[in-house]
């Protein structure tokens, strides 16, 4: 019962956050001289008449609060507006750019969690072993390489040699799942590794530290004195307790993920929301920018809700208090 109330409250907070983000984005972009926007749309040689025509066609001559009202009205009906340039709905642009980004984010997060957790657990249980030392070096390398360097390196070391030798499974650009899982994997593998490299290093270090801490706790001594197998002591008792801080860190990182996505999308020519937002910003394509901002905010709110849910499932102390 408490859980249900907790999540209803979290969903309501999420809606307030979304409204604040939408409003902030709207005023930030629309409260600018409309002349500048219209001028850019109309092109260099535009006459004042053309500019005025553009302004009235886009509705930019209406009072700002009226525009805001229209914007909100559209928003609650799920309509994010139209692109200034192509007249395409922002919804359809989003839907078109979502698959590469979603593939990248979901695969990347899974890869970094699997890699970070497994290397971290092995390092902690074999602390000061050769494996632990190697992984520490690997973590340092991972942490000190910027994402675009990892991406370019992978292209240079993996992609180019393979493709030059006729092995084209690993490919550039994006191939949708409709074309089969194989090609999709081939297109996504390097982007996933790129996105996950730095984060996997961070999560390896975090997991190792948390697990070493939890293995030093009194309840681990209790578990051993109960006559449990060492495996059970480490996984059921140690790792279980080390997981909660990792999950809360994930909540923070998912929020910052979209920034990293832009770089990876560009390096591998995936298209996607990150690349499309950058383009929209260059073009002053306000409805697209705002639409993407709201979509990103929605993603962060939902991701945090999921993280909170998982956290509450993992830790009874959060659940009840």
């Amino acid at each position: 019962m408490d859980m249900v109330r907790f999540f209803i409250r979290r969903i309501l907070t999420g809606i307030v956050v979304l409204w604040l983000v939408a409003t902030g984005a709207f005023f930030l972009f629309f409260a600018r001289p409309v002349q500048v926007v219209a001028h850019q749309l109309a092109g260099r040689a535009a006459t004042p008449q053309i500019i005025n025509e553009v302004i009235s066609r886009l509705g930019l001559n209406q009072p700002i609060l009226v525009q805001y009202w229209h914007f909100l009205d559209h928003l609650v009906h799920g309509n994010l507006g139209f692109s200034f340039y192509t007249g395409q709905t922002v919804n359809s642009i989003l839907m078109q750019d979502l698959p590469p980004t979603a593939s990248l984010v979901v695969g990347g997060v899974i890869l970094w969690l699997v890699a970070g957790l497994s290397v971290g657990i092995l390092s902690a249980t074999k602390a000061r072993s050769l494996f632990d030392r190697f992984s520490t070096v690997g973590v340092l390398i991972g942490l000190s390489l910027p994402t675009f360097v990892v991406g370019e390196l992978l292209l240079l070391i993996v992609f180019l040699p393979l493709n030059q030798n006729g092995f084209t499974w690993i490919a550039n650009g994006y191939a949708g799942l409709s074309g089969g899982v194989g090609p999709w994997l081939g297109h996504m593998l390097l982007p996933w590794i790129t996105l996950a490299a730095v984060q996997a290093a961070i999560y390896t270090r975090l997991t190792r530290g948390q697990l070493l801490d939890s293995l030093g706790e009194d309840y681990i001594r209790t578990a051993r004195s109960k006559g449990l197998s060492e495996r059970r002591v480490i996984y059921r008792h140690g790792v279980r307790a080390a997981l909660t801080p990792v999950v809360s860190q994930l909540g923070v990182d998912v929020g910052q993920l979209l920034g990293g996505v832009v770089v990876v999308e560009s390096v591998f020519g995936l298209g996607g929301i990150g690349q499309a937002s950058v383009q929209a910003i260059y073009q002053d394509n306000l409805p697209v920018i705002i639409g993407f901002t709201i979509a990103a905010a929605l993603f962060v709110v939902v991701a945090n809700l999921i993280v909170d849910l998982v956290y509450a499932l993992l830790d009874p102390r959060v659940r009840i208090s």
Binding site: D218, T222, A223, S225, K226, G227, H237, D315, P316
Partner: protein, 363 residues
């Protein structure tokens, strides 16, 4: 019947600072159904001693033997050791909050232990047994509380749950490591009563580790006083309290707060326990001993019989007759010290007398 016989057990840990000699040759026996109290300050080796019996001191260099029910526990392969832990020897730790896993239900933690040793027990049966055990240790409405998490229990209830867990497989021996130290005084007495009652019901041997002679007075049969990794004195409870021989035992007795004589000042034992890396020469207690003599500076005494029954033994150079709290015994001690003390020992004695009382440790 002797259940556990420990002989010359020594445990040391190599560290960057040097070899930590945590236990330096300890021998004792525990009989079925009896309680041995092991008393000493922090760092006297009492916890390491019992953890070693269960193979829970990784990295320690261990020598000696510890025969439990016909099996030498030291050097036992891990899989055999695991079958003894919990099932034949179980442990109750000091702080029940940190010793129970915070993320699992109390009943689950008890059931886990039952099923770890007997996989034929179903989850439902193990759960039922957990309810029964929680009821037995005095937890109200156990069928509901069995599904609580440790943080929903009070300190005393948590320790009751730990005791329930320790009893769940009806072990032959329980090691209780400072079981009441983390609890309120009123709860302490309840927990000790419970422990004593259940021990009698189950006819379990009990090793009770404590720094509190008051706890020993409540439930121990025999007592071993430890100092710097060795037994300073071993005796029945009666002899420890009425005719202590070792000055350290005497010091411990004098530093017990007594509720009846609240106005009387406690007499702390001067100084601190020695570092286990750099142990003093001779008797390890001599830098804190009011009866220090010349020979204490260079020769370490070993245990010898000091009482009427052969069990009462003490590792001190004072004469065998100088046991007890009587004026006659004190006179005898003083006389021995007068004869046995020259310049070197006198200097140590002066340093002890001059040490500010606040630096002494009341334990």
């Amino acid at each position: 019947m002797t259940l556990l016989e420990v002989k010359d057990l020594a445990v040391s840990f190599p560290t960057a600072d040097g070899l930590v000699q945590a236990v330096r040759g300890v021998s004792f026996t525990v009989d079925a159904g009896r309680t041995l109290g092991i008393v000493g300050e922090s760092g006297s080796g009492k916890t390491v001693l019992t953890q070693t019996l269960l193979g829970l001191t990784p990295g320690g260099q261990i020598s000696g033997s510890a025969v439990f029910d016909g099996v030498n526990l030291l050097g036992l392969p891990e899989d055999k050791m695991r079958r003894i832990r919990g099932a034949q020897i179980s442990v109750i730790f000091q702080d029940p909050l940190t010793s129970l896993h915070p993320l699992y239900r109390v009943g689950w933690q008890i059931a886990e232990m039952i099923r770890a040793h007997d996989s034929s027990v179903s989850k439902a049966q193990a759960h039922e047994r957990a309810v029964e055990l929680l009821g037995r240790v005095g937890i109200p409405r156990p069928e509901l509380r069995v599904n609580d998490y440790p943080h929903q229990f009070s300190g005393g209830m948590r320790q009751r749950a730990m005791i329930a867990m320790a009893l769940s497989l009806e072990p032959k021996m329980i090691i209780a490591d400072e079981p009441t130290t983390a609890l309120d005084a009123t709860v302490q007495a309840q927990i000790l009563d419970l422990l004593l009652r259940l021990q009698q019901d189950f006819n379990t041997a009990l090793i009770l580790i404590t720094h509190d002679l008051g706890v020993v007075a409540d439930i121990a049969d025999d007592v071993m006083v430890m100092y710097a990794g060795r037994a300073a004195e071993k005796a029945t409870k009666r002899d420890i309290f009425y005719s202590p021989h070792h000055p350290y035992t005497k010091g411990l007795l004098e530093s017990i707060p007594s509720s009846t004589a609240a106005s009387e000042r406690l007499r702390p034992i001067a100084g601190q326990p020695p570092s286990l890396i750099n142990l003093p020469a001779g008797c390890k207690f001599h830098p804190r001993c009011a009866y220090v003599m010349d020979r204490c500076l260079s020769e370490e005494p070993s245990l010898r019989v000091v009482g009427e029954d052969a069990f009462h033994s003490s590792a001190c150079w004072l004469p065998v007759e100088a046991a007890g709290l009587s004026d006659r015994a004190e006179e005898l001690r003083k006389e021995t010290v007068r004869e046995g003390r020259s310049d070197a020992a006198a200097e140590v004695a002066e340093a002890i007398a001059a040490a500010p009382e606040s630096e002494g440790s009341v334990i």
